[in-house]
Symmetry: C2
Subunit: 129 residues, 2 copies
DNA sequence: CCATACATGTGTGTTTTACATATAGATGCG
DNA sequence: CGCATCTATATGTAAAACACACATGTATGG
């Protein structure tokens, strides 16, 4: 590996030589994605892990962080969980959305709408120039 | 030892009681914003600081990080700077976009386009349900 | 003289994301 | 059996992105 020359102290995530990895992702996007999926149907973490890429566009979501997000959501009463009993295989913790979680999803939706508008006006200005 | 008691309040940035601050911002958005502004005209940091909120939607951008971004961009040859000579007042370092920076801006534009599509399909699915 | 606006920076802490590893039940296979 | 693999849930820790605070210096107006 041969890059060190002139490289900055600031390690932006390069993808190739001279390239900056540009993804333009929305911060904490798995959070609203999880809420939306749970509004559609109750599910456990592993199922969400499977369904999330459809919404996020990423190949796959980090499982460690997903479980932490689920815990954090539950701590604040935005989702509820229970261990699914009687089924074979590893124990599954099944989550469902609470009314508060539903409201949070609504907030996310409006915030995402604003974000889209910002992107729109950016791209308009970009194309105009 | 499954299901031990919840502890450790995960400090998501609350705004009010029971509320989660939801902003849905695009990661590193000041970067493309700076590049776009510099494509329109050369400028120094303080000018950018003034012009940025128009693109980002935030009240104001953190100056410390802005200057660090400008440095990082210059280290990788995406912008060029020189001290403006002969003018009264504090010394100004004026930046302009390089061809590489222009290409990075183009990458940002496509990435932002994809991001917008993801938001669109999310909101569609949100409204549909 | 002092406050304020202009202008450029560094220091440091917090939040968010990424990468790695641990544990364990079930299933299939040689 | 012994072992790999898939399902399933989690923790540990490092890196990246962001926020907040402070330092320095030039000019202008009262």
């Amino acid at each position: 590996m041969r890059h060190h020359g002139g490289r900055g102290a600031r390690g932006r995530h390069r993808i190739g030589p001279g390239r900056w990895g540009v993804r333009a992702r929305v911060e904490r996007f798995v959070e609203p994605a999880v809420l939306l999926l749970l509004r559609e149907r109750r599910a456990h973490g592993y199922e969400l892990l499977d369904a999330l890429p459809d919404l996020t566009g990423d190949a796959r979501v980090d499982m460690g962080n997903l479980y932490r997000v689920l815990r954090a959501l539950e701590e604040d009463g935005l989702v509820q969980s229970e261990w699914e009993a009687g089924v074979p295989g590893p124990a599954k913790r099944t989550y469902e959305l609470t009314p508060e979680g539903r409201r949070l999803l609504d907030e996310w939706a409006t915030a995402l709408g604003r974000s889209r508008e910002r992107i729109d006006s950016f791209l308009e200005r970009y194309e105009g120039g």
